[in-house]
């Protein structure tokens, strides 16, 4: 839905005046499992409108009243358009225009010519860095068309492991880079949690010189990531990064890097079907990185 419906140029135009947000969790109001009160309130207000499916879209007025609730795909079927993202996007944009036709929307509320990538963590605090991840066009089914932008907290262990980069070459445990590598997995895995459960391997930290920005070092090597997909699938990730530390104190200043890896999406359950090789490319940078 992100790549087809929400990234379509018609949708960007239809949602020009909107604020967009999402929440994931159980929809059963009798057993809300952490549902925020404002989400419960929206569901209660829309209780008379039955929308099936696992993606429900609500249009809310500026005062928080439910104007409409609808499914992103006709008949609640993601395959209605044969996974044609252009048709899906136009259908979604038409739905938004239809259901919001009675609303007065400020025309200049949002500048859709400008990218605003996420900069804060889920708890609202500022992130230290951001990972941008996308899938190679060679292995890109429709659900992977949109990139992932994951705000990161680097944490004291990473900063300590990458400090004193001007000193002699040394080995750094790949797990030190876990605050970044933990987010290097494809979207839409839909098997177990689909997250990274372990990071292993060693990386080489090699000084390459100093300038007015500080002491520079290369951080290179191969990390092994384990995916929580029910089969503990492991896949290698190439790390090619630059680290800057304070030339005098050795304190960590910044890091930015490139990640490349192919994650095998193995058949779930009975093991039948083919394994899908998902080629991922990522870049990460701390916000103070030059």
């Amino acid at each position: 839905m992100r790549g087809s419906c929400l990234s379509h140029t018609d949708t960007l135009e239809a949602l020009r005046g909107f604020i967009v947000t999402s929440w994931s969790g159980n929809t059963d109001l009798r057993d809300p499992k952490g549902m925020p009160p404002e989400v419960a309130k929206v569901h209660a207000a829309a209780a008379g409108t039955i929308v099936k499916g696992n993606i429900k879209c609500f249009i809310l007025t500026p005062d928080g009243e439910v104007e409409a609730v609808f499914n992103a795909f006709p008949n609640n079927d993601v395959s209605t358009f044969g996974f044609n993202s252009d048709e899906a996007g136009r259908f979604f944009a038409d739905s938004v225009r239809h259901f919001a036709s009675e609303l007065k929307i400020p025309e200049t509320a949002n500048d859709t010519s400008r990218l605003a990538l996420p900069t804060t963590l889920q708890d609202g605090t500022p992130a230290d860095a951001r990972l941008l991840l996308h899938i190679s066009p060679r292995s890109q089914p429709s659900q992977y068309r949109a990139a992932v932008a994951e705000p990161l907290r680097l944490g004291p262990e990473l900063r300590a492991a990458l400090s004193a980069a001007k000193d002699a070459s040394r080995t750094v445990a790949a797990s030190s880079l876990a605050p970044v590598l933990n987010h290097f997995y494809p979207p839409a895995i839909m098997q177990n949690t689909g997250r990274i459960s372990a990071v292993s391997g060693d990386l080489a930290l090699t000084p390459i010189g100093a300038n007015r920005d500080g002491a520079w070092a290369k951080l290179t090597g191969t990390a092994t990531l384990t995916l929580d997909d029910g089969a503990d699938t492991k896949f290698p990730v190439l790390v090619d990064a630059l680290v800057v530390t304070d030339a005098a104190s050795g304190a960590f200043k910044s890091v930015r890097g490139i990640l490349e890896g192919t994650c095998p999406k193995v058949p779930f359950g009975n093991g039948r079907g083919r394994t899908h090789q998902i080629e991922m490319i990522g870049t990460f940078a701390s916000f103070d990185a030059r």
Partner: protein, 88 residues
């Protein structure tokens, strides 16, 4: 003696300059690879929308700015499902 010192100084300066040139080359080479590894603008188009992390903050802004909200509820409760960041 003076000639020897001059030669030594020149040698040191040449090494420093060569070291600086090597660092510059490493940094510019990395910058080119980093740029080439970025997703395309189309792949990032979803962030042309005005995202808020939480419905509560979206509603607060909506009231102040007199703007409507599109709220997407995903009922996947096993894995990550954050439409704003993309791991969903």
């Amino acid at each position: 003696m003076r000639a020897a010192l001059t030669t030594t100084l020149l040698a040191i300066l040449t090494c420093v300059h060569a070291g600086g040139a090597t660092l510059d080359r490493d940094l510019s080479g990395f910058a080119a690879r980093f740029q080439a590894a970025q997703p395309s603008e189309n792949q990032q188009a979803i962030w042309k929308l005005d995202w808020e992390d939480h419905l509560s903050t979206a509603l607060a802004r909506a009231k102040t700015e007199r703007r409507p909200v599109l709220f997407i509820h995903v009922t996947n409760i096993t894995g990550p499902s954050n439409f704003g960041t993309g791991h969903c």
